[in-house]
Subunit: 244 residues, 2 copies
């Protein structure tokens, strides 16, 4: 069962004030890269795992998707999504992704942004995703990068060589990490990069592209706060296809 | 053109004294994992890129490979290989992997252990590998892990939280890194994990397994010096197949 930190009042307030919450997809620096990894959305049946405020669901619907089923664990998130991103093609539904089952062949595209690292049982969910995808269907997801989630205490340091650095430890020790992000004691699950990749191949899904997101020179010039992302990326983006 | 550090006298002497040089494959802690990623070798045509002292070539020949072409840039390495790992099925040949061309359809298996991170132009070589592989053929390789190669100055630190850690920086800035390993000024090329993966898919080769090598509990009990490998793995192992 996943921790539902999004219904924690302090967390929800902090999350709601993030650029990606207020401004939607354009407030997420990695969105252009993730968007480039998507198939054409017209007439597609889309499943969104961890839909948050529904920004992607609304984008998919506006792009002509036949249907979007958008799941989130948080009633707060869903209430806001129904309010600001309603569309007749979208069905918002409450679900714990650690327990959700999906109908076989129900999805041309399974999409998930920054949700999987909250889940305890990704092996189970990836089997559900594979079952849900039609042959040739697409899986596009982002997670917090394994280098980001690895250390037991996360934070930048100036290393002994004077370089601003992200100290890695316990990389191969997968499991829960507690961090203070918007609220205290937010629990995320650290998994290695290889674990994410092997979950694909074990489920008859083929990697098509991987991106460890960082800003381009132009993005960096426009927003110098992104400089750290080139030192150690926060986001891992993956696209994959169900084998025929 | 790749730096030929292996023909540097100091480096060669140090390298020759490593367990993996003296004891062969059994002296390399990651070998059991890499071996498990190999196809059956019987009757296969094998190309070994960066063969060193020929330990893998000899293993392949002893396992019934029809032929093994084993390339290395270093004449010192090849002389030793011909001396200690000769086999009628093996052809040892000198080549700079940054310039080598391979014959189309010549390989059922392309193997490379800890060589690619010395090369400047992996894009070119992966196109050669793809061309050389028969449909359904296997590519199995290891490289120094991108987390290992990333920092401009490499080394363990005790971070501000008191954890023994590997400080990451410049992860997305690919290119040469100079380190002092066995000799001064050894030049290796840092590439991101995603770059290795996308080189596969761009060349019609499909990822089948990835492993960020670390010791099991039993291996750790037998050799406590391997403990750091669980904090931040040194080796990335990849297996892949040429699409039909």
């Amino acid at each position: 069962m996943a921790q539902n930190i999004y219904d924690d009042e302090t967390f929800f307030k902090g999350y709601s004030a993030l650029p990606r919450s207020e401004r939607g997809l354009d407030g997420a620096p990695e969105w252009p890269s993730l968007k480039a990894m998507l198939p054409a959305l017209g007439h597609k049946n889309v499943t969104d795992l961890g839909c948050g405020f529904g920004w992607f669901a609304a984008h998919a619907a506006a792009s002509g998707a036949a249907s979007v089923i958008a799941y989130d664990i948080s009633e707060n998130m869903l209430a806001r999504a129904r309010e600001i991103n309603a569309n007749p093609a979208i069905t918002y539904a409450q679900a714990d992704l650690d327990q959700l089952t999906l109908a076989a062949g129900s999805a041309d595209l399974v999409y998930s942004s920054l949700a999987f690292h909250y889940l305890s049982d990704l092996k189970r969910l990836f089997a559900e995703i594979s079952k849900a995808l039609v042959a040739g269907g697409n899986l596009v997801f982002s997670v917090e990068h394994p280098m980001f989630t690895s250390p037991v205490t996360q934070g930048w340091v100036k290393d002994v060589h004077g370089e601003r650095s992200w100290p890695i430890n316990n990389y191969l020790n997968e499991g829960a990490r507690s961090s203070d992000w918007l609220a205290q004691g937010v629990v995320k699950q650290h998994r290695t990069f290889a674990t994410y990749l092997n979950l694909l191949t074990a489920n008859n899904v083929r990697l098509t592209h991987a991106e460890e997101w960082g800003p381009t020179g132009a993005e960096l010039a426009a927003n110098s706060a992104l400089a750290d992302e080139r030192q150690r990326p926060t986001f891992l983006l993956i696209s994959a296809r169900k084998n025929p």
